[in-house]
Symmetry: C2
Subunit: 601 residues, 2 copies
């Protein structure tokens, strides 16, 4: 198995050279940190990833969780990992120090998440979910809740989950039927079923804390009637002992990949004895849950980029070692075979992977920066960063997920028949990755979110801010001679995006949402390509300036490699918007018009 699964050099490049995470230490919230302490955090994450997570990457896949009785048993390394996470501050690392967090900026915590997920995506999900759940309690829970749950969760003793999906309500949360009946005892009685609950039950923790959506009896229909509850697997009795809370694990899902994480089906309140604790006000559940969902969406993007990273380095390692064939200009069979990385088509496949993966990661870091600035700034500037993050969240979730699939597929392809066999990690990466376009909202849902909500919200304000951000990059890069031709390409691409968007806004005015949104998924794809091209130009601008300095060979190679990946993206990926735009400009309603019966014969 390849020993390298991410590039430390690239992480430093993004954090310090491109996105200047150090600048955040000027603000009060991060004043205790500097580059040195950030690096200590990163180093600790790398050690944990390399020492504990990567060694069991394959083993956790081969020995997936099992439901034994009504308890899910997971790989023993998870208990150890969660203990380490608790001790090392890896659960809720952004949380305030007073609650046991590390109060780190998101750019740093995203980077650590990336390292964990590249080592072992399934394992990385456990603390990630607890982090999101704890943050939800911190944001909206009362003081008592915080005192009961946060210390246990942040220490890794209790698992957090997000419990949304039901069998008749997957993409349509309006249709959940889990019910909460008020009592006069300060809790609600919960009754229902949940499916697809990640880390929804397992034996590496003492307790599981579900952040659960349910409807209070008599609540309005649809999303307006959804409330948020804390529903623990075990609740505390009067004596402070954990007792069963009538949450029963009734099933476990057998999955294509991502097998190290248990995905549970839960029966809640079958014995009329499940206590749920309302978080915040009634009927605000979906709004509150969006905090966790949005964080989880960025988390999915990070997970996708991370798996793509591990796959890229495995493919690269193989391509350097595997001898096969000769240069196309060599006909003589007596000449020794060359490593396949000498073949242009293999280099193309590697450049594709690198440009997708590093471009995705840059976009995610950009989102982290917006989140960090929104946290420390106020007023208009805060809102500006929030809007940019909101707009880009569906893009930063979907582009890495969709393109990561293709990226890993090309990684597998580099290995030929060996890539198809489990002697190499590629086939697992290929399986693990496939969840990402599905969970935390399918790509189709994110297309609707981007075009139907984000682009048009507040009179298109977020969208205009995005255009400004890209134009700012263009103004900077066009002063650099070597970047002029690609800067022009991004200019043209941005103009095409605007042309397509204007066209669609025209369609929107016709008042037929189906027609307006029919190709929202393609719009998301186009938006993603332009966004990642933008991020490549951001990186290239930094690189070109860095190359002006006298540098050692390794540094020159790193920067020149970046430039090739940048050029690759502009030469091979960016042109894909031509075909997309051509289709998007033709809102003929093809997929609206076709009747279901025409699919059969």
């Amino acid at each position: 198995m390849a020993a390298k699964f991410f590039s430390e050099r690239n992480l430093r490049f993004l954090l310090y050279e491109v996105f200047d995470v150090e600048a955040l230490t000027r603000y009060d919230a991060y004043k205790e940190y500097d580059a040195k302490t950030f690096n200590m955090v990163l180093k600790a994450a790398m050690e944990l990833a390399q020492g504990l997570l990567y060694p069991v990457f394959q083993e956790m896949d081969q020995h997936p969780p099992e439901l034994v009785g009504d308890q899910i048993k997971v790989h023993p390394s998870i208990r150890k990992f969660l203990e380490e996470c608790g001790q090392g501050g890896w659960i809720g690392p952004r949380m305030p120090i007073e609650w046991g967090g590390q109060q780190l900026p998101q750019m740093i915590t995203h980077t650590c998440e990336f390292i964990f997920a590249a080592a072992n995506y399934s394992a990385s999900v456990y603390p990630g979910l607890t982090t999101g759940a704890a943050h939800l309690i911190l944001s909206f829970g009362n003081e008592e809740m915080k005192k009961i749950y946060l210390p246990k969760m942040l220490s890794g003793k209790w698992q957090g989950t997000m419990a949304l999906t039901e069998s008749e309500a997957g993409s349509s949360l309006a249709d959940i039927t889990t019910e909460a009946e008020p009592t006069d005892q300060g809790y609600y009685k919960i009754r229902g079923q949940k499916i697809f609950i990640s880390a929804g039950d397992h034996d590496a923790v003492e307790n599981v804390v579900h952040l659960m959506l349910a409807k209070i009896k008599g609540a309005p229909a649809g999303v307006k009637g959804i409330s948020l509850f804390v529903v623990p697997k075990k609740r505390l009795d009067e004596n402070g002992r954990l007792v069963s809370n009538d949450v029963v694990t009734s099933g476990i899902f057998h999955k294509l990949g991502y097998r190290g994480s248990p995905i549970a089906q839960l029966s809640i309140g079958d014995n009329d004895d499940c206590h749920g604790f309302l978080v915040g006000e009634p009927h605000q559940g979906l709004l509150q849950m969006f905090q966790m969902m949005n964080e989880a969406r960025i988390g999915v993007g990070i997970g996708a980029a991370a798996i793509a990273s591990a796959a890229y380095y495995a493919a690269l390692d193989y391509s350097k070692k595997r001898l096969q064939g000769r240069r196309l200009s060599t006909k003589d069979p007596a000449v020794p075979q060359v490593p396949i990385i000498e073949h242009p088509d293999v280099k193309r496949m590697l450049l594709f992977q690198r440009s997708v993966m590093e471009g995705s990661l840059a976009l995610l870091m950009q989102c982290g920066k917006y989140a960090d600035l929104a946290d420390v700034l106020t007023g208009d500037e805060k809102e500006r960063n929030e809007l940019l993050l909101d707009l880009l969240t569906p893009v930063a979730k979907s582009y890495p997920s969709e393109m990561g699939l293709l990226s890993i597929s090309q990684g597998l392809q580099c290995l030929g028949g060996s890539g198809y066999c489990d002697d190499y990690p590629l086939e697992q990466h290929y399986r693990d990755m496939r969840i990402h376009p599905i969970h935390e909202g399918t790509t189709g849902i994110h297309g609707l979110d981007l075009l139907g909500r984000k682009v048009v919200m507040k009179g298109g304000r977020a969208y205009k801010l995005f255009l400004e951000e890209v134009q700012k990059t263009i103004r900077e890069s066009e002063t650099l001679e070597t970047l002029q031709s690609n800067t022009q390409k991004l200019k043209d691409s941005l103009a095409l995006l605007q042309k397509v968007t204007s066209h669609l806004m025209g369609v929107r005015e016709k008042g037929i949402p189906e027609l307006f949104l029919a190709d929202a998924t393609l719009y998301l794809e186009l938006f993603g390509i332009v966004s990642v091209a933008w991020q490549w130009l951001v990186q290239a601008t930094v690189v070109v300036k860095a190359l002006r300095n006298g540098l050692g060979d390794a540094e020159v190679n790193f920067y020149n490699g970046k430039l090739f990946a940048f050029r690759y993206f502009f030469e091979y990926e960016l042109p894909k918007i031509e075909g997309l735009a051509k289709r998007l400009m033709n809102s003929d309603g093809l997929t609206v018009d076709i009747k279901p019966e025409l699919f059969s014969d």
Copy 2:
């Protein structure tokens, strides 16, 4: 599990309405057949697929072959299937009746292969390999060989294989080291190792007959020194009894998918007692093997289209039954949820699958027609059909394989989280499909084959014939008013293909093969899209004419569904050539120039 895995109506449409298989019965070779007898053959294939293959589709995946001692044990249904194949004439169905074949045209045998592979791809491979191996013996073997091997193989008692790959020689057959030492006993002593041998050993047959590439001692280096041998697992002794032939199964590969077929590693002649029998003349092995390889490549295309078909019907079935969400124009949560097939984005995903899969199948049928005509015609007309088949073989192998992956991925996506779980067949289809861009030559190899060999061979003759074929379709379709706009699009696309090809021919003249062929894979992709668009226009022309007649509802729905899939292809898929052409016109040597060390950091 969905009960439907292919459309019988579509097969009849292609065979009788588009490609007029009945016209072949005018020729001597097929004069015994008519539509009625062809249909009996198809009906028998469907019964076998539905009765025997489809029921064990999932079971064979869950209980893959195992190496026990030095014998691979496969699912018990394989023995039954091979017996049925032997009795029903499903092995070597094209072979002459005198050798136990059915002497059927390829269009019919391709259709049967498609039905078997859609039901259970892994199972379909066993008789398919024996067919190709038997055909090789028929074409190049001597009479004694034919008498010994063909009856046993065609009856399903002996398995045939193609034994090419070695651990140091995958894509580079020039580098095989398996050695054949002449004796004066009429056989050669074979020594070597082979890997990735499909159906290379199993317990559902009495014997395995390897059609093996090896080098006779002292042969020229490279491909010119490769000879073809029959190397049975057990040979006949003087008394006509089967005795061990020193071919030992030394390993079995654990694969991502396609798990029902054993892929073996073989040690040959470790005890210096392996007899191999030369097929034809020495050093002609690769040339001879190309017959089987080319057949297998079309077979891979068929297998890919077939898996995509099964996945499409599973996704369609789910999409019709699964209730989720409401129309975008409906905000009222009290309105019942609709089947997801009502959502434009789901219809888009289904149309994508259908247009890729049915377009692929049409292209494969077109290849079958060229093969059939090459068989029955003579002189120039024979050569013309041979050249067209040669040119299109890499396209008909690669387009269904590469696009089939995306097609199945969209099928899985229709099911959301359920698609990721093994309660539904999509995750298996997704795994099974991934072998296709790899085996029988990777997509990269086929790109080189198309651009570096097929397009330029005989002064570009095959390529010119292809252009003529497309132009012929255009001339016919432009007379139909409803097809004029899409006919123009195909005209433009063909012009773009010619422009790109001319550009590349200019690069070729520079004499740097790396530069000329650097983007051959993209050229293959572009060629594939244009070819499938052509095949959709061929189909649409038939459909528009058929719709002039008074037809029942089911027929009208079938034809109108075809027109939507055709329009989808032209609206959503064909525009992809814009981006590809843009890149292909810029032969800047990006992937040639980048040095391996620039990939690291």
